[in-house]
C-alpha cells in the first residue's frame, strides 16, 4: 500500500471513529469560528464568504484616485503596479492580461483588493470601499455600468467574458 493510501485510509478511519489521533501529541488547540473571524476571509466564486456592504463605480473613482493611482496610474493606466484597464481584445504571450480579457471570476477582484491592496497599506480599506473599487474596475473594464451597485448578491452574478476559456491541465491530480 502506498503511503498516500495509508494516510488517506487512516484519516478516513479517524473521521469515522471521531477519535483523537493515537500516537500523536494532540497539542492542537480547538478554535471557534468566532475566534477565527479576522483570518477567515476566503471568498469563493459563488459568492460564499462575501461580507455585507456595497459600493458602485461612481463611489469608487475618487477612492481609486486617492489610494491606488499612485502605483496604478491615473485612470489605472499603469505605473509600478501595472495597468488595470481592459487592454487588448485578447491577452497573449506578449502580455496584456486584464479583467476584461482574462480574469475568470469577479469575486477574485474583491478578494485580492481586500487581502493585498493598497500594496503599501493592505487591509486598510472598509468593505464598502472594496465593493466600490471592485465596481470601479468592473466599470473601467466595461463589464458593468457606473451606477451598478456591487454587494454580496450582485457581485457573484457578474460573469466575466473569459470565464469559459480555461483548461484544467492535469484533471487527475485534483
Amino acid at each position: 500500500m502506498s503511503t498516500r493510501k495509508l494516510a488517506l485510509g487512516s484519516a478516513i478511519a479517524l473521521v469515522a471513529a471521531g477519535a483523537f489521533a493515537a500516537e500523536l501529541p494532540n497539542l492542537g488547540k480547538p478554535i471557534t469560528p468566532d475566534d477565527l473571524k479576522a483570518w477567515d476571509i476566503t471568498i469563493f466564486p459563488d459568492g460564499t464568504g462575501l461580507p455585507d456592504g456595497n459600493g458602485n463605480s461612481v463611489q469608487g473613482a475618487p477612492i481609486f484616485a486617492a489610494k491606488c493611482a499612485a502605483c496604478h496610474g491615473e485612470g489605472a493606466t499603469g505605473g509600478v503596479g501595472g495597468a488595470l484597464t481592459p487592454g487588448p481584445a485578447r491577452a497573449s504571450l506578449d502580455g496584456g492580461k486584464s479583467i476584461a480579457n482574462f480574469w475568470p471570476y469577479s469575486t477574485t477582484i474583491f478578494d485580492f483588493i481586500r487581502r493585498a491592496m493598497p500594496y503599501n497599506a493592505p487591509h486598510s480599506l472598509t468593505d464598502n470601499e472594496v465593493y466600490a473599487l471592485t465596481a470601479y474596475l468592473l466599470n473601467l473594464n466595461r463589464i458593468i455600468g457606473p451606477n451598478d451597485v456591487m454587494n454580496k448578491d450582485s457581485l457573484p452574478k457578474v460573469k466575466l467574458p473569459n470565464a469559459g476559456n480555461f483548461i484544467i491541465r492535469f484533471p487527475e491530480r485534483i
Binding site: L24, N26, P122
Partner: protein, 440 residues
C-alpha cells in the same frame, strides 16, 4: 590548477557522440585518474607548460583571522550572490535568482535559495506565529511552533521551482542572459518538518473536503488552493532548510512544501489551511499562474513542474579558454519523481551521449549530471535532455513552443510571457570559446 605531465598508457577515452563528447566512464572510479590525465591532452600531445616553482604565500606565514559564530563565504566569493531584481524595494514584487553557474552539487546554499515575495519579506516573530487548520474538518485546531516541535518529523531533499522559471525562453528569439537570469527561479534543499497528513490526522477530515486553501501571513496574505490528494500524499509543513530554520525568504518560520509542485503553491509564512469542497480561485491561481495558449485558451491548475534539465557549465559568462577537456555539468529534476537519464549533445542535437548521474538520485530533487567533453576549438552547441521515472522526456524547444506558444517580439528578460517552460536549453560555443544562448 597546475597541469602535470602524466603517463597516459594505452588509455583513449571513448567518443560517444559528435563534436567531442566522451564516455561518462572517464569521470568515474579508475577513469577519474585517466580523465585527469586526459586534461593534458588525449591526443598524446603532452605539451602543457610546466608549473611555476612553489613559494609560501602570506596566509601560510601568519595565523589567520577571528572565527565568526555564523560563518560567511570567503571574501573571494563575493560575486557568488543572488540577482535581486528590486534592489531599492520599490512597492512591487521582488525576485532573487540562484546563480547556478557558480554552484555545484545538488543542494542550494540557504543564502542563495531563490525567493519571490509579493509584498516584501515579512519579519515574523515565531513565538506569535500560529497555524490554523479549519473548514471541513472534525476539529478545527491551532498550532504554535512550539507545539509542532513535538510532532514526528521527516527530512526530504527536494526542489522548489517557480512556475515562471525559464520564462525568458518563451521569447521568439534567444535572450542573451546567464543561467541565473534564465533558470535562477529554482533551488533545491533538504526540508524538515511535519507531514501535513500527520496534522490532518489530528483534525480529522470531512469526506466532502477536496481542496485545501493555503494562506500566508505576509502582507498580501497570499493564497492558493491545493488538492487534498496532494496534502495527503507528501505535503509538509516545513520548518528547517538544510538543517537550520527556514530563511525569511523561504517562509520563516514555516512554509507549505508541496514536492514537485509550482513554487507559488508552496505558500510561505503559512498560517491558515481551510479544507473546502471548491477552490477559491485566488488571484494567483485564476489569473497570474494560468498560462495563455496560442489559441487564446489558458491552462489552469498546472501544478506539476515537469521534467527538465539545463547545463550550468559551460554556460553564458563562463567562456572556454583553450581547446581540451571540459566537464559539461548541470542539474536535472522532475516533479513526477526520479531522473532516470540525461543525454548531452555537443552538436545541437544531431548526436547524443549519456551523462553520468551523480549520486544521490532522489525523487523530485535536483540530480547533478556530468559528462566529459573535448572541445576542439570549433563551434559547438551544447544541450542536455532529461528523462524521468514516469517515462516523461524533456521536450525539444520547437515541439514545446508549437504547443505552448512564444512571443512575437523579444520581451524584457525579467518578463513572464507564460510559465512551466521545460524544454531543452541550448548553449552555443563560438570558436573563441564564448558561450551564448541559442535556439537549436
Amino acid at each position: 590548477m597546475a597541469k602535470r605531465r602524466t603517463d597516459l598508457g594505452a588509455y583513449q577515452p571513448e567518443i560517444v557522440a559528435g563534436n567531442g563528447l566522451l564516455h561518462r566512464r572517464a569521470l568515474l572510479g579508475r577513469g577519474m585518474m585517466l580523465a585527469g590525465a586526459a586534461a593534458t591532452g588525449v591526443d598524446g600531445s603532452l605539451t602543457s607548460a610546466a608549473a611555476e616553482p612553489m613559494v609560501d604565500p602570506a596566509w601560510t606565514n601568519a595565523p589567520g583571522s577571528l572565527m565568526l559564530p555564523y560563518q560567511v563565504p570567503s571574501r573571494f566569493e563575493k560575486d557568488v550572490v543572488r540577482a535581486v531584481d528590486n534592489p531599492n524595494n520599490l512597492p512591487r514584487n521582488t525576485r532573487a535568482r540562484t546563480p547556478h553557474h557558480l554552484l555545484n552539487g545538488i543542494i542550494t546554499p540557504n543564502g542563495l535559495h531563490f525567493t519571490i515575495c509579493h509584498g516584501g519579506v515579512p519579519d515574523i516573530d515565531p513565538a506569535q506565529h500560529r497555524l490554523v487548520i479549519h473548514g471541513l474538518v472534525k476539529r478545527p485546531l491551532v498550532f504554535t511552533l512550539e507545539d509542532l516541535a513535538r510532532y514526528p518529523k521527516v527530512s526530504r531533499i527536494g526542489f522548489v521551482e517557480c512556475g515562471g522559471n525559464s520564462a525568458p525562453l518563451f521569447s521568439n528569439t534567444p535572450i542573451q542572459a546567464n543561467v541565473t537570469a534564465l533558470h535562477g527561479l529554482a533551488s533545491c534543499s533538504e526540508w524538515t518538518g511535519v507531514l501535513l497528513s500527520t496534522l490532518l490526522e489530528e483534525t480529522g477530515i470531512d469526506p466532502k473536503a477536496k481542496w485545501i486553501i493555503a494562506e500566508g501571513a505576509d502582507s498580501p496574505r497570499l493564497t492558493r488552493s491545493v488538492p487534498v490528494a496532494k496534502a495527503l500524499d507528501d505535503a509538509m509543513i516545513a520548518m528547517y532548510q538544510n538543517g537550520e530554520r527556514i530563511q525569511p525568504g523561504q517562509g520563516y518560520p514555516m512554509r507549505l512544501w508541496l514536492p514537485g509542485y509550482e513554487g507559488n503553491m508552496n505558500v510561505k509564512y503559512i498560517r491558515r489551511l481551510q479544507l473546502t469542497d471548491q477552490p477559491t480561485m485566488s488571484y494567483y491561481e485564476s489569473r497570474t499562474y494560468s498560462q495563455i495558449l496560442p489559441d487564446g485558451k489558458a491552462y489552469r491548475f498546472y501544478f506539476l513542474q515537469e521534467v527538465k534539465s539545463f547545463i550550468t557549465s559551460p554556460s553564458p559568462g563562463l567562456a572556454l579558454k583553450d581547446p581540451g577537456i571540459y566537464e559539461v555539468t548541470g542539474v536535472a529534476y522532475s516533479g513526477t519523481g526520479r531522473i532516470t537519464k540525461v543525454m548531452i549533445s555537443a552538436d545541437g542535437g544531431q548526436s547524443w551521449g549519456e551523462a553520468a548521474l551523480q549520486d544521490p538520485v532522489l525523487p523530485k530533487a535536483f540530480t547533478r549530471f556530468r559528462m566529459p567533453w573535448r572541445w576542439n576549438g570549433g563551434p559547438a552547441v551544447l544541450q542536455s535532455r532529461a528523462w524521468d521515472e514516469g517515462g516523461n522526456v524533456q521536450p525539444l524547444r520547437a515541439d514545446f513552443v508549437a504547443l505552448r506558444g512564444q512571443t512575437s517580439r523579444p520581451p524584457d528578460v525579467g518578463a513572464f510571457p507564460s510559465q512551466h517552460f521545460n524544454a531543452i536549453t541550448s548553449w552555443g560555443v563560438s570558436n573563441r570559446g564564448e558561450v551564448n544562448h541559442v535556439y537549436a
